[in-house]
Symmetry: C3
Subunit: 133 residues, 3 copies
Amino acid sequence: MRSEQFQVDTSHRTVVDLTDRVAAFLAAQDEGLVNVFVPHATAGLAVVETGSDSDDDLVDALRRLLPRDDRYLHRHGSAGHGADHLVPALMSPSLNVPVQQGRLLLGTWQRIVLVDLNADNPRRSVRLSLLSG
Amino acid sequence: MRSEQFQVDTSHRTVVDLTDRVAAFLAAQDEGLVNVFVPHATAGLAVVETGSDSDDDLVDALRRLLPRDDRYLHRHGSAGHGADHLVPALMSPSLNVPVQQGRLLLGTWQRIVLVDLNADNPRRSVRLSLLSG
Amino acid sequence: MRSEQFQVDTSHRTVVDLTDRVAAFLAAQDEGLVNVFVPHATAGLAVVETGSDSDDDLVDALRRLLPRDDRYLHRHGSAGHGADHLVPALMSPSLNVPVQQGRLLLGTWQRIVLVDLNADNPRRSVRLSLLSG
C-alpha cells in the first residue's frame, strides 16, 4: 500500500483544505480508494464546499452543537477543550474517496477538509493511503 | 476497480433508499468493500432503518440541528440553503459496506440511504466502486 | 478478504472500546485498511479518546442532540428509543483504519469505540474485514 504522511499547520485556520495535497499524492494510473486519516483525537475530516463561507458556517454550527463551556467532564488545556474531543465523533478522522486514472472523483464543489477547533495543538499530521482497486 | 454511476431523482424524497441499487451492482463472487460516494456538496449518506418512520425522524433531527433560517453566511438559492451545505459534514458523502459472496453484509434493519434536504437540485449522482479484498 | 465477526455485551456500557480486539485481528504482515462494521440499526462507531471522561461527554452530547423523549415517530421498546435509530446517522456504523506491518495507524490518544445508547439490545455483533493494500 502506498502511503504518505504530511504536516498541517492549523494555527490560523480551523478548516484546512487538503484537496490539492491529496490530489498531488496520486499517480497518473492510480485507481481505487484513497484513505485520508488524521491521527489526532481532537480533529475530524469532511467533504464540503469551501471558499463560499460554508466553512465558517460549519465552525459556527460545531460551536453551537458542541458549546465551548464548562459542561464537559474532560477538562484540561483551553476553556471548552472538552468539546474538541467530541468533534471526531461527529466528523470521522477517516475518509475514503474513490480514484480513477489518478484523479479524485469529487464533485465540482466538493473539497476534502480537516476540521480542527483545538487551538492548543497547531501541528497536525495527515496520512494518505492508496488502496488499489 | 469496477465502478458505476447512476442518477437519483430526489424531487419527492429527502431520504432515498439506495440499498437495492447497490446490491444489484454486485456480482455473485464479489468480495471486499463497496464504496458508495455522492459527488455533491449538499447531500450525505447514512445506514439507517427505513420504513418505520426513522427516516422522517432523521429529517426532523437534521432540521433541528441545522435550522433552515438566515443564520448562515452562505446564501443563495432557497431560504436556509446554507444548512444544506453542512449536511455532508455530519453525514459523510462516502460510505463503505463489506461484501461477501456478492452480498452486502448489512444487518437485518440496515439500509443505505441518500439524505438530501436541498430542494434546489433534484438530480443526484451516486457512484459505486468495488474494492476487491 | 479475511474477515471475522465477534460479539460485544453492551448491557453495562454505552461506549465500548474495541481497539484491542481490532488490533488482535491483525497479523504481523498485514497492510491495507481494516474495516470495522456494526450490523445494527441503533449503534455507531467512532474514533475518540477513552479513559479521560470524553466517552461520558460523548454520551451526554448525544442525549442532548438526540433527546430521549416522545418527539419521534418511530416508537417501540424503551422510552426515547426513536433517538437510538438516529445515532448511526451521526456516527456511521462503518469505519476504516489504515494498517501497516500489522499495526493500526492510530494516533496516541485514538481508540475505536462502539457507541450504543440502546438498552433494549445488549448483544451486539462487530465485523472486521481486512482490505489488503
